[in-house]
């Protein structure tokens, strides 16, 4: 059973008199137990709205969602959930320990559990020595760590993180990544909402890209970043003609890349590994030395930019169709096939 499930989630902000904003358009999503899931999208794509619907901070206009098997938004569904929001404002007069004590009480922990767990999580985020300092004096990075400590307080089964490393220095990011990996190893589920694509790439095994409230692409990170069987082959020769002769017949699938002296580098697009091996056999048969064969992967950033551009172009085309674009919420007509 999925830990997080969303079916045809729609959210329209705005009322009778105000401008309507279609924040989510029929989002379907499933996240399994122990998975590290990354939700990507440009500003205003609906990422935070989706997370807030799952946590009951925002009500869905239609559709349904569950969290840990309970209807999302109910208090009981949030009992074993940690949430680190992007926007947070702790009362400045509370100390770090008092913040955790308050949230421990809200979770129903007894005094001993609150004290022990607070110590643990503050140490985990390296805030132990600041436990009795008032939040008002904390830097942004320290507040970020405190928010992570608060999210970890219930030892949650699902951890929602909205931009967890924003405002944190590189060393701090490594530390936070380390903490999150530790939680993943313990079987926790991670739902990461971030603009920091490298963070998502390093932590998540599955991602979804949200554009204008629609999931336009989703799947395992590995398959998104390596959509076709492309290989980069480094050969120990400068004789490109000899390579072309060896690859005769499939040379259209081979593209020569820039190479240092004494080498030639080719990008080969093949249908499958058998075709790759056949090509390599031909190269060897021509007595050309193969120095390296590497699968070509796009970076997540490339995939992200490509997806957004495509979705925006499609939305633009749709807007210029019969009737044209009237308002923002109908620029991408519902039901249009955008996702791959």
């Amino acid at each position: 059973m999925p830990v997080i499930q969303a079916q045809k989630l729609e959210k329209i902000y705005g009322g009778v008199l105000g401008t309507k904003v279609h924040a989510l358009r029929g989002v379907d999503l499933e996240v399994g137990r122990g998975e590290a899931f990354g939700l990507l999208g440009p500003n205003g794509a609906g990422k935070t709205t989706l997370v807030k619907i799952l946590l009951g901070l925002v009500s869905a206009s239609s559709g349904s969602s569950t969290l840990l098997g309970q209807p999302a938004g109910t208090p009981i569904s949030r009992l074993r959930v940690g949430y680190m929001p992007e926007r947070r404002a702790y009362p400045s007069f509370l100390t770090a320990a008092q913040v955790l004590d308050l949230f421990g009480k809200m979770l129903g922990m007894d005094r001993t559990a609150r004290q022990q767990r607070s110590e643990q999580v503050l140490e985990e985020v390296e805030m132990g020595k600041w436990r009795d300092q008032r939040v008002g004096g904390f830097s942004k990075g320290m507040q970020q760590r405190l928010a992570l400590a608060q999210a970890l307080l219930p030892d949650p089964e699902v951890l929602f993180l909205d931009e967890p490393t924003e405002g944190i220095d590189p060393l701090g990011r490594v530390a936070i990544r380390h903490i999150l990996r530790g939680n993943l190893e313990k079987g926790k589920t991670l739902f990461l909402n971030s603009h920091m694509l490298t963070e998502v790439e390093m932590l998540c095994d599955r991602v979804a890209i949200l554009v204008k409230g629609e999931v336009v692409r989703h799947g395992p990170l590995a398959s998104l970043t390596a959509p076709e069987a492309q290989y980069r082959i480094t050969l120990g020769t400068e004789d490109t003609e000899a390579v072309k002769r060896a690859l005769a017949g499939i040379d259209e699938a081979a593209e020569e890349l820039q190479a240092p002296p004494g080498q030639s580098i080719w990008r080969l697009t093949v249908e499958d590994r058998r075709q790759l091996n056949a090509a390599l056999d031909r190269v060897r048969g021509a007595e050309i030395e193969i120095e390296e064969v590497r699968r070509v992967r796009s970076s997540l950033e490339e995939v992200f930019v490509e997806t957004i551009t495509e979705a925006t172009e499609r939305a633009g085309d749709a807007a210029q169709g019969p009737g044209g674009a009237l308002t923002e919420e109908i620029t991408v007509p519902a039901g249009e096939e955008v996702a791959r």
């Binding site: 949030r78 074993r80 509370l94 129903g108």
Partner: protein, 299 residues
């Protein structure tokens, strides 16, 4: 579910503990506000003054002499003043001040408790906990009530004990008056909660609370003086105006009458609690509406 999670968390949202946590948080918040500290200091100074400055000699139930700072005699005009009368007068002054200026001050000080709960960034954190939203509102309301109850108890209890100790006359009516002032505060505060939840603005919330308190005065006079309503009934627009005023009188808290009842209680006069129980629906409906509104908002 991991073993640790199972060990430290209950199986269902702990509503009672959550309410207590919010009350404790509100008390902590109050302690860090200078207005509360100032109020505490002022009350303490007043009690110290009452305890040390005025010396009253009582002989056979009447005041034989009264002195300030132990040396300056207070003229009592040669007439014998009953101790009970003197104590009642002092307490009536305290009740009069508290049921007007004190109550408005209490509304002013507590008016931003609900809007502060709804501050962006803080409400997200609170509402994402395993807590039902009405619990957040009720917990904070109970917290505000606790703060005001503690302040009133300190002032009323302190002055009552000092006067009883000095004169030997314990006026229970004074304590009843304290309860009526607290009740009057509660009815205004409930309206303030509703305004705070809808507007998320401290100034609007404070104005609403004080406005509700002040509205009780003209509404009482419009209701009380029958000749006014009779005059209104001369034509249909006047009848309509009269009907509106009368409806508002019954809907809104009867703050003016509650103040009057508090004074009557101090004088140990027979007490009608009609203004109290007819003000209760306003408080409950306001709180219910506030909870309903808060539950359907997006944050």
């Amino acid at each position: 579910m991991s073993a640790t999670t199972a060990a430290i968390l209950p199986t269902s949202p702990p509503t009672g503990r959550q309410v207590l946590a919010l009350v404790a948080y509100t008390l902590r918040e109050a302690r860090h506000k200078w207005t509360f500290v100032a109020l505490f200091v002022l009350t303490t100074l007043f009690l110290l003054m009452l305890a040390t400055v005025v010396n009253i000699d009582v002989v056979e139930g009447t005041i034989a002499s009264a002195r300030l700072f132990g040396t300056i005699p207070l003229e009592i005009g040669g007439t014998k003043i009953q101790v009970s009368e003197a104590v009642t007068v002092i307490q009536a002054v305290i009740v009069g001040l508290l049921s007007t200026f004190g109550l408005v001050l209490a509304l002013f000080i507590t008016g931003n408790i609900i809007p502060r709960t709804l501050n962006p960034g803080w409400v997200d954190l609170l509402a994402s906990q395993p807590v039902a939203r009405p619990v957040l509102i009720l917990g904070r309301t109970l917290g505000a009530m606790t703060v005001v109850t503690m302040s009133l108890t300190y002032l009323f209890g302190g002055s009552w004990m000092i006067l009883t100790w000095k004169t030997g006359f314990g006026n229970a009516g004074f304590l009843v008056a304290g309860l009526l002032i607290l009740f009057s505060f509660f009815t205004c505060y409930a309206g303030m909660v509703l305004a705070g939840v809808i507007t998320r603005s401290s100034p609007v919330s404070i104005l609403a609370g004080i406005g509700i308190w002040f509205a009780g005065i003209p509404l009482y006079f419009l209701h009380r003086f029958e000749e006014w309503t009779t005059a209104f009934r001369a034509g249909w627009p006047r009848t309509l105006a009269s009907a509106i005023a009368e409806t508002l009188y019954w809907v809104m808290p009867k703050t003016a009458e509650l103040t009057g009842r508090a004074a009557e209680a101090t004088r140990l006069e027979s007490l009608s609690l009609t203004p109290a129980w007819t003000s209760l629906p306003f408080a409950f409906v306001s709180l219910a509406l506030a909870c309903w509104w808060f539950s359907r908002q997006d944050y």
